[in-house]
């Protein structure tokens, strides 16, 4: 791993962790369903798939989840968040890799949120033994809304991200006449 990539991974992990902490500090959106969140830190994970590749995205997710749960004083939440998050991230990575031409970021994010909620409820069902199907519609609806929001956030970040930020730092940069590098821009100005 190059020094640059380590720095970028650390930067995005810190961003994800900040979002996680911020969201934890806010009161729940619905009093009767404390698990319903906007998932802002997942936006950073989705962004990491593009900026760091799949391995970096997993790292950002693991750092965010483990440190976030420990800092929030709730390591028990990892029991639900880790399997749900890992599966959701894997699905999103596969969608980004193979279906980016068909799906937009919103779709990928919505499907990711759906997988996350489904796995989380499944684990909760296995652990507590209480049938949680009654709350499934609520989680499906809130997951779709949160996924849509997260997808839009990442779409606009990527859309307005200057090429100079990623062109020289990403793995396997490609040569293209239409793309201006950081050095070119400096020469022109």
């Amino acid at each position: 791993m190059q020094t640059k990539q380590i720095a970028h991974t650390a930067l995005l992990s810190a961003a994800a962790l900040s979002m996680y902490a911020l969201e934890n500090a806010l009161p729940p959106l619905f009093a009767f369903a404390p698990g319903v969140r906007l998932g802002l830190s997942n936006a950073v994970c989705l962004l990491a798939i593009f900026l760091l590749g799949w391995d970096g995205a997993y790292l950002v997710f693991l750092v965010k989840s483990v440190l976030g749960a420990l800092l929030a004083g709730n390591p028990g939440a990892l029991l639900y968040a880790l399997p749900a998050g890992l599966l959701s991230l894997t699905v999103q990575i596969l969608l980004v890799k193979f279906l980016l031409n068909r799906l937009s970021l919103c779709g990928i994010s919505v499907i990711g949120a759906f997988v996350f909620n489904a796995v989380q409820l499944l684990v909760a069902r296995l652990v507590t033994g209480v049938p949680l199907l009654a709350v499934l519609p609520l989680y499906l609806l809130s997951g779709a809304a949160a996924g849509l929001f997260t997808g839009l956030v990442v779409y606009f970040i990527l859309r307005y991200l200057p090429r100079s930020v990623y062109l020289n730092s990403l793995k396997k940069p490609i040569k293209n006449k239409n793309m201006r590098t950081c050095a070119n821009e400096k020469e022109e100005s």
């Binding site: 009767f32 590749g53 799906l103 937009s104 209480v130 049938p131 609806l141 779709a144 849509l148 990527l158």
Partner: protein, 130 residues
């Protein structure tokens, strides 16, 4: 296989929402609406289990209409469903909760530490201690 730079360019050129995205959204929304209509595959419950402030659990037959007065709130059993009235807590969340009648459904009153839960499959539950 595309490089990461190419992927970002794809996103930059693309629209924020495409037709397949809307299809995925519609499927999820349809599932959210249809699942409760299908009754979630859960059977109607047979009894109400109420765990009171003292930690003791008592069961009541869901088939017999009754009013159970507890410290702080009253549970009403009516037509095979149970709901809460007269909550003494300020937020009255449990009162706002829709009535419950299917196995596994519950109403929780956090301030009073009272849990009202539907248990058993229709007709198979033997009420004890009532």
């Amino acid at each position: 296989m595309k490089t990461d730079v190419e992927r970002i360019e794809t996103v930059k050129k693309g629209r924020p929402l495409k037709i397949p995205d809307l299809a995925a959204l519609l499927v999820i929304l349809a599932a959210a609406v249809l699942l409760p209509l299908a009754g979630l595959g859960q059977q109607a419950g047979a009894a109400v289990e109420i765990t009171g402030t003292d930690g003791e659990t008592r069961a009541y037959d869901l088939g017999t209409d009754a009013r159970i007065e507890l410290a702080g709130l009253t549970v009403v059993i009516e037509g095979g469903r149970a709901y809460v009235v007269g909550a003494a807590c300020p937020d009255k969340l449990c009162e706002a909760h829709p009535s419950i009648g299917r196995s596994g459904e519950s109403i929780v009153c956090l301030p009073q530490r009272i849990v009202i839960k539907i248990v058993g499959d229709g007709g198979q539950f033997i009420v004890s201690g009532a």
